[in-house]
């Protein structure tokens, strides 16, 4: 029996440029107890379609035509015909919503249990024993009601907040749960735990589930059916196995192939021997017992390594948020002073440079940051970001010519991007411009800090290939900082896995990621959702057991050394 039937729905958004047809003629049904994944990139209409069922479209969007039937309603089942009060009663009681922004979804000034109580009261009136209701709901998602119930949202971790949202979303046993990228802000380990909790609760109350997402791997591990949306059109719909193993639409194929696999085929093209860098007596980059302490928190424990620049290499630093990987990035760029130890570039301590030396250091060490939206000054045309460093460093050649060449090298049409303002370009275009900028300056070393985590999945491979080309074609050594083991597996020559500011495992990627030895690395790899249906992602019990493993590792893990590569030495002990 179907819970929800969406029939020929059209959704429009009037904007300053005219009416945008966000969703065009989408028809599908959600069966009781079945999980459906809505997959597509940003702007594909996946969230908009789901929100239409709750009548919660953001202004100024509206349903232009079509029907949405919630079959448990009495009489007229079309939710679009309900009055305001009727719709309010449907929300949460019949259709619940688990939001994307786990960080901000809870009212910051209310205790957790009070946020469950007000939901219960809104639908059932003054009920006796609210405490028991919230306790049951919190216990269901594996949180201790005695402790967590009394806390305020800012005292919870991201995963806990999202589990509270699941508790709220299931406390009235709705017919349908809409989960809007519920794990997008979470680490892979937490992601698995939250996803398993959601599945467990959904199975328990027998509700239908719409899971909105962009990650085919997560979908493969979580849902029964997949609906692929592109530009507001439902391009493919079917059981998950059929979609993953026999995708028909080229867009579906693209989505599946954009998920990098550990061990799978590389998305990079092999190159002839890369050009050599200059030969030096001292390492290109050296960390000598570097550590960083913020107040009472040690972000990075003493670490030493030396990178030789002669043979360009990509060194990956892999870790989850809070592992200290971004701290390392800013230490290597000299944005932060180390608490102890020294960072040396070509033998000179980068925190003790004269103004002239510093300019030279800046010229030779460049970076690509995570957020392509923030990297351009909104006041200037994008040319400013490319032109200014080129001129400031007093580089040879004609700026305009070099800019055009660099844009072409990263696959951008200069006439389409140059001379525009940042907000007129997409995230992918901006990130490629930043890579082009690095190319123009031809540095010796590039720090790439999560360069693709905020870019749409289909573009990630292209941008990583652009970065990889910097090494292969232009002889630039690269430090690649990421949370994504699969991409690190493909691009890097050497991998370090960071946990709480310690290196837990290090060595060539085939060893470290292909055959992990340290419990933490194994856990990370087991937690990655792959678009492989025969791989068991485990159940909620496994996810909880994983957290116990983490607790065992504790604060001072051992380092597992998995072999060396020429030109890079990690300080041992």
């Amino acid at each position: 029996m179907s819970v929800l039937d969406i029939k020929n729905i059209h959704i429009d958004f009037p904007t300053s440029k005219g009416v945008v047809h966000a969703v065009t003629d989408v028809t599908l049904s959600v069966e009781k107890g079945r999980r459906i994944g809505f997959i597509g990139e940003s702007g594909s209409g996946k969230t908009t379609t789901a929100l239409a069922a709750m009548r919660m479209l953001a202004n100024p969007g509206f349903v232009a035509s079509g029907e949405v039937h919630l079959n448990s309603l009495e009489g007229d089942t079309n939710v679009l015909h309900l009055d305001e009060e009727g719709m309010r009663r449907v929300r949460l009681r019949k259709i619940s919503y688990i939001p994307q922004g786990a960080m901000n979804s809870l009212n910051p000034v209310m205790r957790v249990e009070a946020q469950i109580w007000d939901a219960v009261v809104a639908h059932e009136g003054a009920v006796e024993d609210l405490q028991a209701r919230s306790d049951t709901a919190l216990e269901g998602v594996g949180l201790d009601p005695k402790v967590v119930g009394r806390l305020y949202p800012h005292e919870l971790s991201g995963g806990m907040k999202q589990r509270v949202c699941i508790a709220i979303g299931t406390c009235l046993t709705p017919d349908l749960i809409i989960a809007d990228e519920p794990t997008s802000a979470l680490d892979v380990i937490t992601q698995r735990h939250v996803m398993q909790t959601l599945r467990e609760m959904q199975a328990k109350i027998g509700a239908g589930l719409i899971l909105i997402g962009h990650d085919m791997g997560l979908m493969a591990q979580s849902v029964d059916d997949i609906a692929v949306l592109k530009k507001g059109v439902l391009v493919e719909f079917g059981p998950v196995r059929q979609i993953i193993e026999n995708p028909e639409h080229p867009y579906t194929k693209e989505l599946i192939s954009s998920v990098p696999l550990v061990g799978g085929e590389s998305f990079l093209h092999a190159q002839a021997a890369p050009p050599k860098g200059e030969k030096l007596d001292v390492p290109l980059l050296e960390l000598d017992g570097v550590s960083k302490v913020y107040g009472s928190v040690t972000a990075l424990h003493p670490m030493s390594f030396a990178l030789d620049g002669e043979e360009p290499k990509i060194i990956s630093i892999v870790g989850q948020s809070g592992s200290g990987k971004s701290t390392m990035g800013s230490l290597m760029l000299g944005f932060n002073d180390p608490t102890a130890g020294a960072v040396r570039f070509k033998g000179d301590d980068i925190n003790r440079m004269t103004a002239g030396e510093r300019l030279e250091f800046r010229k030779q060490v460049q970076a690509v940051f995570q957020d392509p939206y923030a990297c351009f000054n909104p006041f200037y045309r994008v040319n400013h970001a490319l032109k200014f460093p080129f001129e400031n460093f007093g580089m040879q050649g004609d700026v305009e010519v070099e800019m055009h060449k660099a844009c072409e090298a990263v696959g951008l049409d200069p006439s389409l991007v140059l001379g525009r303002y940042p907000h007129q370009l997409s995230g992918g275009q901006r990130q490629r411009l930043i890579v082009a900028r690095a190319l123009m300056l031809s540095p010796k070393l590039l720090i790439a800090d999560e360069p693709v985590s905020m870019v749409d999945a289909s573009l990630r491979a292209t941008i990583l290939a652009n970065i990889h080309d910097l090494k292969d074609k232009h002889g630039i050594s690269i430090i690649y900082i990421t949370h994504d083991l699969a991409t690190a597996y493909h691009v890097s020559d050497y991998v370090m896995v960071l946990y709480h500011g310690h290196v837990v495992e290090a060595g060539p990627p085939k060893e470290v990621i292909g055959d992990p030895q340290h419990a933490y690395t194994r856990l990370l790899i087991d937690s990655i959702p792959w678009p492989d249906l025969d791989r068991d992602w485990g159940d909620a019990g496994d996810a909880r057991a994983a957290l116990d493993v983490l607790a065992e590792i504790g604060g001072t893990p051992e380092t597992v050394y998995r072999g060396d590569i020429p030109g890079f030495t990690l300080g041992q002990g």
Partner: protein, 317 residues
């Protein structure tokens, strides 16, 4: 954030313009150019009106009529009668006060004076605020602490009271001196605002990019940060002009402020002092009040308009 509007716009199919009324299209066009803002334009028009009154008034009217006894005292405006039943004279179209000063001439001289005090005090306050805000936000550490605590302290002290003490000690002051004194109390808000903005911009991607490009501190402050602050600076400036005029008028209404120069506040002081309310000489305090209101409404509209320029979410489609 789950905001389908933002997400939907760039990647989806080309929007179609059919089905929109002309009026909607016009409003949307306005949406595209934030500076083409009706509130902003109206506000500027009102202020230009005050300035025009000052300029053309001097050309077409005799400003010497501001002196005591220049015209017949206690005359009503043209078309009205005073309590003695005398009909207003064309020679003093807005009436006169009990000392025989011509109201129109007082307004022509007084209104630009009030605006002058506001603009000058605000300009000085802003310059101080920009300097201190940048220093605090960019330098950090001890300097930041001192500036932060200093502005916290000075924002609590009501400027009017310190000015009263100054006035009581110094006696008569000039317009410019009053502006300087007021400026000492209007640098705190811009300092706080700019400091907060600089602190957040310091961590922003484009400032980090500029540092990577080997930019000097001066380049980062003036070329990367300052241009993005412009709407805030304008907004803060206008708010400060309002505050300064309010403070100046407040002083004048207490009978302080410049004694020999006509200002709108001074005219109101004289009116209250001579019991214009009980004598029913409404024109005496009414006209300067109306002019001040026009000035404040103009400033308010500019400020609301600027708010919408710098925060698109305030704009409505």
């Amino acid at each position: 954030m789950s905001d389908p509007t933002n997400a939907a716009a760039p990647e989806t199919a080309a929007p179609d313009m059919a089905g929109l009324t002309k009026r909607q299209l016009k409003r949307m066009k306005r949406f595209d150019n934030p500076w083409n803002n009706p509130k902003l334009i109206w506000g500027i028009t009102l202020l230009m009106g005050i300035i025009a009154l000052g300029i053309f008034g001097r050309i077409f009217w005799d400003t010497d009529l501001v002196f005591t006894g220049a015209v017949l005292p206690s005359q009503a405006p043209v078309g009205f009668e005073n309590l003695r039943g005398q009909v207003g004279l064309a020679s003093s179209p807005l009436g006169t006060d009990v000392a025989g000063k011509d109201l129109l001439a007082l307004l022509i001289v007084g209104a630009p004076n009030s605006l002058y005090v506001g603009v000058l005090a605000s300009l000085i306050g802003m310059s101080l605020g920009i300097f201190l805000g940048f220093t605090a936000g960019y330098t950090g550490g001890r300097v930041d602490d001192v500036i932060r605590v200093g502005s916290d302290v000075m924002i609590t002290i009501p400027p009017l009271l310190i000015l009263v003490v100054v006035q009581a000690s110094f006696g008569d002051i000039t317009l410019t001196m009053m502006s300087l004194l007021i400026a000492a109390f209007v640098w705190q808000s811009p300092t706080r605002l700019i400091r907060a903005q600089v602190l957040s911009m310091r961590e922003s991607g484009y400032v980090q990019m500029a540092r990577l490009s080997g930019a000097s501190d001066r380049h980062i402050m003036f070329r990367e940060m300052l241009p993005n602050l412009v709407p805030y600076l304008f907004g803060s400036f206008i708010a400060n002009v309002t505050t300064s005029i309010v403070t100046a008028v407040g002083l004048e209404v207490l009978g302080l402020g410049p004694q020999r120069v006509p200002t709108l506040g001074r005219v109101i002081y004289d009116a209250i002092d001579s019991a214009a309310l009980t004598r029913d000489m409404w024109w005496w305090w009414g006209f300067p009040t109306i002019l001040l209101m026009v000035m404040f409404i103009g400033l308010l509209l500019i400020n609301l308009g600027l708010d919408e320029v710098s925060n698109p979410r305030l704009r409505r489609l």
